[in-house]
């Protein structure tokens, strides 16, 4: 493998200082399950890696002020095990089909987001759950909706001197009399049951008010240059009675909103058809799970 220097900071400040002082050939290293593959294929050629494994500030999952604060170094395996993630069914479902059990023990949530693959498994559920992303550098901390973070295939709004520090999810309490019940669902269509790169993936989130869908978010993976929200498909359902007619129309619109490519895994036409199928199924699934 290509030679590189490795920094192993113990604090977030030290990590940010290293990123601030170095040039563009420095890269953060999380679980390494993408980075080491890219290094070997020479898709990335950094001179220095900053290993974040020892930075305690990037660890941990806490619930405060109605939000779940998910540390950047949280592994996919922890999303499956930690009961704090129980309200986020779509995220759990994505974690359960993420690569394979060994990768899930190493790969981190920030790594999957930072890699910014259009097919990244955790991205549609995070978009459907309206996640916020926190970026830190030596000089500032900024928080933005995750929907603004992805700029294109493997391109993000993160500067070279910044790190993803956490992801924030709004926790709603179904016990609270003021909030409506909420539910989410995710499906990845792959060519096999393990290590599959998704042909399409669909995540939906619903808020229910009696027989109406009060609010809805639909996110699609692997059918555009970046993970996307199907906002026109959402409009068909928002504020309306849950009905077969609306469901069909929303699914049809979603398949026209995306812009999939044909490649060796599937044709664009097949991907569009599958978006319609799985948008419909995931909304039905989320509706049934209130």
């Amino acid at each position: 493998m290509r030679e590189f220097d490795l920094l192993q900071p113990k604090t977030l400040n030290d990590a940010l200082e290293a990123l601030a002082q170095n040039n563009a050939t420095i890269r953060p290293l999380g679980g390494g399950t993408d980075m080491l593959v890219d290094l070997r294929a020479r898709r990335v050629q950094p001179d220095t890696l900053v290993a974040l494994q020892g930075v305690n500030e990037l660890r941990g999952v806490t619930r405060a002020n109605g939000h779940l604060h998910v540390g950047a170094s949280t592994t996919i395996a922890e999303i499956l095990k930690n009961p704090l993630f129980a309200p986020f069914n779509a995220l759990r479902q994505a974690a359960s089909v993420f690569a394979n059990p060994m990768i899930r023990n190493s790969a981190t949530i920030a790594g999957n987001i930072g890699s910014a693959s259009p097919a990244g498994d955790m991205l549609p559920p995070l978009l459907a759950l309206n996640a916020q992303i926190e970026l830190v550098s030596r000089n500032e901390t900024r928080v933005m909706p995750l929907s603004e973070f992805f700029l294109g295939p493997r391109k993000t709004a993160k500067r070279a001197d910044e790190l993803i520090s956490s992801i924030q999810l709004l926790v709603t309490s179904n016990q609270s009399p003021v909030s409506n019940p909420q539910s989410s669902a995710f499906y990845k269509l792959g060519l096999r049951q393990a290590d599959a790169i998704s042909l399409v993936s669909v995540a939906v989130w619903l808020e229910r008010d009696g027989e109406k869908i009060r609010d809805v978010r639909i996110a699609l993976g692997a059918v555009a240059p970046r993970p996307m929200r199907a906002t026109r498909a959402e409009e068909i359902l928002r504020g309306q009675i849950f009905s077969e007619t609306n469901l069909k129309e929303s699914a049809r619109i979603a398949s026209t909103e995306c812009s999939p490519i044909s490649d060796l895994r599937a044709s664009a036409d097949y991907r569009r058809r599958m978006i319609a199928v799985y948008v419909r199924r995931m909304i039905e699934q989320a509706w049934q799970h209130f």
Partner: protein, 165 residues
């Protein structure tokens, strides 16, 4: 690029390694420790051949930098037998001949061991789900699944010696 000295526990024994930043855990095990039970398969995390336990969790050693293992507790297939006695998973794989070429045997056994540590009585569906990232190109998996299920039974039997003897 500088070497760094790290300390770790390997199969229950203390080790000191001097490693470069770009050395993979898999390569150090095979080329410096001569522990060749852990295999190099695809090198990109898609076959499972390099699976070992890192601080108790099944991990791909082809996607792990050795230098990041300072203070770690590593268990490979060579460390599974205790006091000359095969682990229940090893015994079950032998009894079921759950291998043909043997290349995946180490990783299948290490995964079965990890599964039984989490879940002492897994169902067949749970075994198949847990082993889904470990490829075997010979057996068709049937004998591996039987061996994994039987390993759970064998371990239970060993834990209750009165019932066994």
């Amino acid at each position: 690029m500088h070497k760094k000295t790290i300390h770790l526990t390997l199969n229950g024994e203390a080790r000191e390694w001097s490693v470069y930043p770009n050395e993979l855990l898999l390569n150090v095990l095979r080329e410096q420790e001569y522990l060749t039970g852990t295999k190099y398969g695809c090198g990109i995390g898609e076959c499972g051949a390099c699976t070992l336990h890192l601080d108790g969790a099944p991990t791909l050693s082809c996607l792990t930098l050795a230098i990041a293992c300072d203070g770690a507790d590593i268990l490979t297939i060579e460390g599974l037998a205790r006091d000359g006695k095969l682990d229940a998973t090893q015994q079950a794989f032998l009894e079921h001949s759950a291998f043909q070429c043997g290349f995946c045997t180490s990783d299948m056994i290490m995964m079965t061991r990890a599964l039984l540590n989490e879940n002492a009585q897994p169902s067949e569906a749970q075994v198949r789900d847990y082993l889904r990232g470990n490829l075997c190109r010979c057996t068709g998996y049937a004998s591996i699944v039987r061996a994994a299920l039987d390993a759970a039974a064998l371990e239970k039997q060993r834990a209750e010696p009165s019932a066994a003897s």
